[in-house]
Symmetry: C2
Subunit: 273 residues, 2 copies
Amino acid sequence: MTKKVQKNKPIGVFDSGLGGLTVVFNLQKSFPEKEIIYFGDTARLPYGNKSPETIQNYARQNTRFLLSFQPEMVVVACHTASALALGKLKTEFSLPIVGVLAPAVKAALAKTRNGRIGIIGTSATVKSNSYPAEIKKANPKIKVYGLACPLFVPLVEEGLFSGPLTNMVVAHYLKSLKEKKIDTLILGCTHYPMLKAVIAGFMGPKVTLVDPSEEVMPEIAAQLKERGQKAGAVSKGGLRIYLSDITPNFRKVATSFLKKELPRLGKANVENL
Amino acid sequence: MTKKVQKNKPIGVFDSGLGGLTVVFNLQKSFPEKEIIYFGDTARLPYGNKSPETIQNYARQNTRFLLSFQPEMVVVACHTASALALGKLKTEFSLPIVGVLAPAVKAALAKTRNGRIGIIGTSATVKSNSYPAEIKKANPKIKVYGLACPLFVPLVEEGLFSGPLTNMVVAHYLKSLKEKKIDTLILGCTHYPMLKAVIAGFMGPKVTLVDPSEEVMPEIAAQLKERGQKAGAVSKGGLRIYLSDITPNFRKVATSFLKKELPRLGKANVENL
């Protein structure tokens, strides 16, 4: 059987900063033939402590920017934007838009045994109550415990993935969650998987961690399949990264998320889109 | 002698966020008759890890916004903007613009005995090399040690002004600076004075801390005097606060900086100025 070469429209991905490159890393593993356009809103990050209106406005502008590349679909890698803006984006734009929230919830529901799920994220994500609402819609009996961990992002951006200080910060936040006897914990922010080892060590072997940057892959695959495309083609897709600000330490941080050298990189002004 | 009532043009103050309210607190103590217009760029904070061009662009837009109130002068309360944009602002605008850098340097030079000065601030402030350059211009023999402490701002925004975690974060950063045997330390970021007690405790009694939000007051007084105004009038000036985003925890953080209840508050869009 010969493989049909299909029109290779890119996948657009945006995040408030560079953390969404973990999604890109997984996309490249699962769909090596797809071209990916990544937009990181480094000039306006972090989204996590901004108001819902501002986050929705930024998400809209970021999507408009990605639309200029005529993508097949847009992946909202940012949890804060997924929690607060995905519904609006879906009504305003006609192409498929996938967020990280629903797939993470699906995975957590499949994994929990005792019906006690924790969700950690930015202040805005936790305050939005989007994760508990989505979980309770599927199963109202599940107990959900949300917790904001505002020091985790700067910790990761500092490259402090482990060590005594990281242990102490993780313990500072997660102590209260451990007491709730959860058995499943959603890492509800793109940066948090970088602290996975320390978080797993603190929570203990009975708690399963859910990494949404991995769980979102089946939904992307389903969307591509629905549109007549399949994973695993031979040709290699490229990756283009655009940032709203070329920040001094983006290379260090981006490389830690992408786990390889950076591709070409552009500056994009999206404020007036 | 009777006091002349003078046309009370306001003083404009801007910062990347709410930290500049420490300057407002000191302004209100020193110049209770002056009306103050404060702009906090909460939609685009933090400035500390952004590029010089972006910081200059933001500083320009913030100044333009304040100009709409026809202020007597503009105070750049943000250290990052003072370090990276003050020179540009001074050439582009005709009114007096005062930054926090020069007064802090003057104070540090007056206070050091052993000629070894430390400066802590955001990554952008430290990388700009503005503090060492200003110090060495005045006295090339002084040894200056700059250090970025990126976790201090989120720590303060979390309200963690003291406690074991704060002690550990402060020790994590300042250990290397303590070994340099500095006797004067400039708190080169609006948030850092909130950690003064812990920093002083760690550095020990031989190290004098310089708080630029206090040191800037004489320069403001000099500017006002030059323009025929003096401090200490009887009438009470108001305070108006504008933010580019009404963030969920601004009230908590702002109150801790201003040390009193918040006045009226407006939302301002400065992106297209």
